[in-house]
Assembly symmetry: C2
Homo-oligomer: 320 residues x 2
């Protein structure tokens, strides 16, 4: 067994990363979207990074996977009482990482090193890496102009129709040495793109110069898991955004977004009828249960994904 | 009845300020020590300002007056889990003011305006003012060198013997326009120096150029309340510091610290035997119960202090 790299974001991505982590431990590297990061009260919030870290550390809430279990809002209550902003409604435990991160960044430390320190302290054996140490910010293009994703999500409640996306800073951002090392590992076995919004969760990672080429050239199968089941996003607004962009709001629509990037696509049993049509796009298809309700579901899906990647590798060898 | 200015710091000073506030409402201005302020995690902590604000807003803990009632430590638990500093042990509600203050300061707002905003939002009618908008930092001189007061208090637990104090920045600091306005009020009735450590709580305010002269020249009686009862500081380490500095660790020793500044000194009934000796220093003495255990105690002491000041004023008029 070799190394596995997961591209992850959001709660679904975190849960699949956790399944992979249970199977592969320190052989796993999770590359995480930072396009949704934002500043609030002069602190650096990295929602995707923190979601992954809490999940792998087993401190994430079962019902609200983006924050620690048993979260409280006492800081926020006093912020509001003192006339500060009511939103986003900060969690107490969730404030610790932004506080330490902001202090570290102000002292000149790289986001990658700060994140790896958190992992070490929480006993996470896998490597959790921001996609870049440089800032990339995803903007949602709406009829009212470009809106930072965080504002679109919180202030606008994802309501204005989406016309497109911009990834500010992506052209100048660099993949970190740690991300390059992970993807250049001689024993790289698979790259797994987690079930997450293709536009604001996964795409920012693909927009960093060199990322697509590197994924294509490495030889290890690139396998994605659909965030859409039966025409609905499990979490978040992927389906709504796809309709507004004139895309087909189905697992097949997601597959189209990853055309010429992935070798295999994992869809839910519920979407089995789409398998043939997706295969005709030029990729292999794996149909399994993809809902992750329990810890066992996470591991089972991760196992299916890795076996699927292994089958793609073997088929390639057979072809040669 | 005219206006009252209180110089306050620490829990004792906050409680007396609260008593004065109950009696005089918006006629009260509280000038607060900022020499004990410190930076932690890049945030600006102002322990004395926050203690006064919580107390006047009636949200201060009954047992730990420097923080809000029902304080929790959830942010700190996660900070420690992530490898951040264990001390000072941050309270959740207590973190709101430093967060908003730091954001305001970074945006170029003055500490005075930020503090007045907090008061407005919390419904405090009195004016709570930092002694200056410029930073003054109290250093404790020990055999191991100069230590910032906050570090002396938390890291060193006030243990190393004190050889003296330095007030860094005091020479360049200016009294704010708001403090000057309060002290120049035509109907200024009394200036009250609260029961607090004379060296690190009250003295920093007196070290700002012009403060002593202004207090002496205004004509309103300046009255101080002893933080020492029966040879012991009610809170904090005043007695210990006085011994180490070779001063008499009694109410009389405190009076000596305020020589040529105050017109009257308020001591506890327990120290009645010292009254004559203190009067011989050239000040009037008022002997009353000074322990503030209940809300009624605060008001009663405040009432005694204001009556004492009124008596000093009347005696002066009689002399003229």
């Amino acid at each position: 067994m070799g190394r596995v790299v997961a591209l992850a974001a959001q709660v679904g991505g975190a849960r699949l990363a956790d399944g992979l982590y249970q199977l592969r431990g320190k052989e796993l590297t999770v590359v995480v979207n930072t396009g949704d990061d934002f500043e609030h009260l002069n602190l650096s919030f990295c929602p995707d990074l923190d979601t992954i870290v809490y999940t792998l550390a087993r401190v994430a809430s079962a019902s609200a996977g983006w924050e620690p279990e048993g979260e409280t809002r006492n800081v926020q209550a006093m912020i509001s009482a003192l006339g500060g902003p009511d939103r986003p409604a900060l969690g107490d435990r969730s404030l610790a990482a932004p506080l330490l991160r902001s202090e570290g960044l102000a002292a000149g430390r790289a986001l990658t090193q700060i994140t790896l320190d958190f992992c070490r302290r929480l006993g996470i054996q896998a490597r959790v890496l921001p996609m870049s140490d440089e800032a990339v910010r995803t903007y949602v293009l709406t009829s009212e102009g470009a809106v930072a994703f965080h504002d679109y999500f919180t202030e606008l409640a994802c309501e204005p129709p989406v016309r497109g996306f911009q990834y500010a800073g992506a052209d100048e951002a660099r993949l970190s040495d740690e991300v390059l090392d992970a993807l250049h590992a001689a024993d790289l076995e698979a790259v797994v793109i987690g079930p997450a919004n293709p536009y604001h969760a996964i795409r920012p990672m693909l927009e960093i110069p060199g990322m697509r080429e590197l994924l294509r050239s490495r030889g290890a199968p690139v396998v994605a898991v659909s965030p859409i089941i039966g025409g609905r996003a499990l979490k978040g607004s992927a389906g709504k955004m796809m309709r507004e962009l004139g895309r087909e709001p189905t697992a097949r629509g997601i597959a189209v977004e990853y055309l010429r990037l992935i070798d295999g696509f994992v869809i839910d049993n519920e979407d089995a009828a789409l398998a043939e049509s997706i295969a005709s796009l030029g990729m292999r298809v794996c149909t399994v249960p993809t809902r992750m309700r329990s810890a066992e579901d996470r591991v089972a899906l991760a196992q299916s994904v890795l076996e699927f990647a292994a089958a793609i590798r073997e088929a390639r060898i057979a072809e040669v």
